[in-house]
Assembly symmetry: C3
Homo-oligomer: 310 residues x 3
């Protein structure tokens, strides 16, 4: 594909740029308190799909201006719930509905690069303008990422049962796997507001920083280091193994044996050892985007209406 | 169904009453150190089944007198293990046996309301009367609940391997899911006694209180708040999604999309947003008990002998 | 089988002895910085298979000299990656490869006795001799064990993505189950070096000790206590339930009901209660090795080439 110029993409609600192998994606709706709407959902999918296929992108960071009212203050429901819904879906009837946050979640979760959420503000809704309600800032914009950094003062909430709906964006799949069902139930079934250092939620975060200003630079520093040191194909296979392990330990042994065989027969395993011993940065040659017979080893489920089998 | 008067139920080992949408269930066998027996197992199933079907009940709390010797000191095996077993089951042979604690676990886990265990005393057995042995106070009376509150001084143990049996009451299913297999193995395979603040067990608890007296009131306060603010049908669907997620993230996206579509097309989603903006308590209309085509979306397994397929 | 004399086994890289029901296995390659190679892999499988079938062995501990450079400093790849591979496998082509660390993992995970890793040194590689690379000391030599003790000063790392391969030895199956996918992703996808008390890794450990000297004695003391107090058949069934729970809570209820019925009909359940009340050590009669119709209740997967179905 033609490689995109990320600073020149026609985006309304996001700012993007490439920095030493790291694609930086910033939510750019501060004047709307970084609410989530149909357009930002589309743009996030577009950007993460580009990143997935672009070999120059090793890591993707999502963040926001640390001076904005929030990292994301949730979905804009000033037009009612259904204003957020896909028009075509609605015409096809009840079974066709696909949650917009969930589409974003799937795109980010399936991205073959390392993904980092740098949560440098609240992830709650505001009543001050009667158009904001929380949720998606905790779900699609945090849970499908590989790593999460957060400001210690952030207010975090999964408010769904207090608004008459359910946890969206595949969060009921992700949260119990990420931090266990005990903590997930505490968060989902109280709908309470938690700080990152609360025992209920802290295991969700790779790092918790004292000020809003520190969150993005700290995440970016790790991202840049990984952009150099993490072998792209290793990342892709490792994410595949985490997300799609064997059904039992023996099957997993067969899967990771095969992954090791493929990788150790390539150039990067030798380069990984050599660069380690020579105390120099590695020069990787394999990429995440190479087509090959074996990967992905699981069957992708098509969620489009009339192709899924719910 | 005719709505029960919970203060007038014919119960021998439990005390029950309804308090602002919260069904309070108190273990009332202090003179027997709150041991577990066949009768209390039956009564717990009866009460949680009533709660499941009664739209007035939004939350169920299980607790005990904080002055009792224990929250629950385990099964009374003074008559031998088999005295705890169902007579009919035994006549049908080995495959017919159904663990009594497990029947209680299933009833509580499948209850569509929010369930809270307020563990205001030890969950260990006592040797002082040679009739008590620990276990079920940690398993059926804690693990199937959505939230657990506990006294920081409680002694907690899963003693099964030290008694020649195995973890009962589906605890080998629940504990690893709730807190991860590393912690679950520490608890099950040492059979040791732990305090709530021990790293091995603390993630089991929503809140840990310094005194026995504080546990029930703190749990009740949250229960009453949730009885008002948590939409009943949202609770039921959310519990369903936590307990029965999709087999993969795409399938979960289909499930939660459908749940959101159903709920957002109802009255409570609009009321959830409106009451939030109007800073007033919501007035929910949908209930957990409504029959509908879609829920439950999973297949319930019949565990009765000759109907199950073990 | 003829019972082995563990002090007389023909082992090159391990030292073994039986101490009050505890089989002690010490990595004995200090002059090679306790690196992992094909021979030690074979010896570990041999020893854990013996332990699995020997009724005198109730608990197995793996440890190292606390004065060695490391607990295990990883695989010796001085001969290249493929020098670690099984010659026969390689002749059969790509699908035949079986990761050596994974074979060790499977043997330890499937051992019917309690297994403890006493990690009294680093689990990282060294550059000082250009032959060492980390990994297996964190994976096969820690994750398949039931309990892990560690020195607080140990350096721990899952370096795979920084070496151009993937997490080996079924670690992508085990780590997310043991500590949750959030923590597992932090470890696998940064490849960073962590201390045992770091929030990212601490839930992997049953106990964290301040000095290297304390780790093995503390683990041995618990091992000896469990060798007396843990009923062997209870241990085997409990491990089976943790590793192979029901697909849903109802199925698990059927499984543990059956396990309880079998065990409570035997001698050890009565002895477990009696010894508890009589305040004396139990005298167990059932063993882990007894053949019986029901156990194992799951289907073992054969991972040998041409017998597996990857």
């Amino acid at each position: 594909m033609a490689l995109p110029d990320y600073t020149a993409l026609a985006l309304k609600d996001l700012k993007t740029y490439l920095d030493e192998g790291v694609l930086v994606v910033l939510i750019d709706r501060a004047k709307h308190k970084n609410t989530f709407n149909g357009n930002i959902a589309d743009e996030l999918q577009e950007v993460f799909e580009l990143a997935d296929r672009d070999h120059r992108v090793r890591v993707v960071i999502l963040s926001a201006e640390h001076t904005a009212a929030a990292y994301c203050s949730g979905a804009d429901i000033s037009g009612g719930w259904s204003a957020l819904w896909d028009k075509d879906d609605q015409q096809e009837g009840g079974l066709a509905h696909r949650d917009g946050g969930g589409k974003v979640t799937l795109t980010i979760y399936n991205c073959r690069k390392i993904t980092i959420a740098a949560v440098n503000g609240h992830a709650v809704g505001f009543r001050s303008l009667v158009t904001f309600i929380a949720g998606v800032g905790m779900t699609a914009l945090q849970l499908p990422f590989d790593l999460r950094f957060v400001w210690a003062g952030a207010k975090l909430t999964f408010p769904f049962i207090r608004r008459g709906i359910v946890p969206e964006a595949a969060s009921s799949y992700l949260l119990p796997r990420l931090i266990g069902q005990s903590r997930a139930s505490s968060l989902f079934l109280t709908g309470g507001t938690f700080s990152p250092n609360s025992p209920q939620i802290q295991s969700l975060y790779h790092d918790i920083l004292p000020t809003r200003e520190e969150v993005f630079p700290k995440a970016l520093a790790l991202a840049k280091e990984l952009a150099v040191h993490a072998a792209p194909k290793s990342v892709t296979y490792t994410k595949g193994l985490i997300q799609h392990p064997g059904d039992n330990i023996e099957e997993n042994h067969l899967l990771d044996s095969r992954a090791i065989k493929i990788l150790a027969s390539g150039k990067d395993a030798a380069e990984g050892a050599r660069s380690f011993f020579e105390r120099r940065p590695p020069r990787w040659q394999d990429t995440s985007e190479d087509k090959e017979e074996w990967y992905p080893w699981w069957k992708r489920v098509d969620v489009r209406h009339r192709r899924s089998k719910l």
